[in-house]
């Protein structure tokens, strides 16, 4: 039963903290009045049809959420894979061939499972990615500067040409 007097709290001791004895009595009386009013005029209840409709909507929403989660999982997996590849590309040449400990053992076992051809293919791919990354890192700056230099030279040539034409008349 809904009540202003919550069963889990001691209303008397709570009221005593904030009100005088006579005030607390009045508060309790008002709370009892409210309880009576809420009981005398109970709120309407939701129609069965409304409840069924809510349940149906929830089921639809849950199934949609499940469908949406797959692309998310794929995206997340792709992101993790990309991070792993980049990390491998960046760290491969610096890492020693073998390190002690269980992690290294597991790595060796994994490597044994993969054929020699596969390893060379992966190595070539990683080397290519590495060189592409380096090219991108350096090339971006050099490229821009290079283009800028070309443009500057072009403008300078044009100025000289214009200058000459002007004096020649």
């Amino acid at each position: 039963m809904n009540k202003f007097k919550n069963k889990n709290e001691n209303l008397d001791s709570l009221l005593a903290k904030f009100f005088s004895a006579s005030e607390a009595k009045q508060v309790k009386d008002d709370f009892s009045f409210a309880d009576g009013a809420f009981e005398k005029f109970p709120a309407a209840k939701p129609a069965e049809q409304t409840i069924e409709e809510i349940k149906r909507k929830i089921a639809v929403k849950l199934s949609t959420q499940k469908h949406i989660s797959w692309p998310r999982v794929i995206l997340q997996a792709a992101a993790v894979a990309a991070v792993v590849v980049v990390a491998a590309v960046l760290t491969w040449p610096d890492k020693p061939a073998s390190t002690g400990g269980s992690a290294a053992k597991i790595q060796e076992q994994d490597i044994q499972l993969v054929s020699e051809t596969d390893i060379s293919l992966y190595e070539a791919e990683i080397a290519q990615l590495n060189s592409e990354l380096l090219t991108l890192n350096y090339g971006e700056e050099n490229g821009t500067n290079g283009r800028l230099l070309d443009l500057t030279e072009q403008v300078e040539v044009e100025i000289i040409e214009t200058d000459n034409t002007f004096w020649k008349g």
């Binding site: 939701p46 129609a47 809510i54 349940k55 089921a59 959420q65």
Partner: protein
């Protein structure tokens, strides 16, 4: 009455919902729909809006259940209900403002037809006369079953302030209802 549902059972249901099981949600709807509907009905004053708000609330819960701690489900649930009601009031005020402007432009006064959804009882009618915050805290205390401590925590205000707000509101409500009787 739903408020008598054991805390352990509610916690189990919340865990089911977190796993995305629609059965868990269905049971939560069975347990809480009446109380939430009562809460919204008292505040909105009509059935149509109460229906809409309850429906919206459960859909919100479906989205947000992951962020809920099962042991504090009820305060969490009624916090969302309270926020939803605040949004509803804002939208309603905007709508009323717009309608008033339109009415001024038309210079005609047509009485609003009230259908069955607007047939409210005496208590709901008088609660509509209280300011929204006072009506809300009274309805919250009654329908949520939260203690004053939980209520104060939820509203982020001292327990004494919360207690005094509820009492002032009830006192006013009592005056309104008694005056209507005279």
């Amino acid at each position: 009455m739903p408020m008598d549902e054991s805390k352990e059972k509610i916690e189990q249901l919340v865990e089911l919902c977190k796993k995305g099981q629609s059965g868990g949600f269905s049971q939560l709807v069975d347990v809480y729909s009446s109380r939430l509907y009562g809460y919204f009905y008292r505040l909105a004053g009509n059935r149509d809006d109460a229906n809409e708000l309850v429906s919206e609330l459960f859909l919100k819960i479906t989205e947000k259940i992951g962020s809920c701690k099962s042991e504090t489900f009820e305060p969490w649930l009624f916090r969302i209900a309270s926020n939803l009601f605040t949004d509803y009031i804002r939208t309603k005020k905007r709508r009323e403002k717009m309608l008033n402007k339109m009415a001024e432009q038309c210079l005609t006064e047509t009485p609003v037809e009230k259908d069955d959804g607007y047939l409210t009882d005496k208590l709901t009618k008088q609660m509509q006369k209280l300011d929204a915050e006072t009506a809300e805290i009274i309805a919250m205390r009654f329908y949520s079953g939260l203690s004053f401590e939980e209520l104060a925590k939820m509203r982020n205000e001292p327990i004494g302030t919360c207690l005094s707000k509820v009492h002032r509101g009830i006192k006013r409500l009592r005056q309104l209802m008694e005056n209507e009787n005279e």
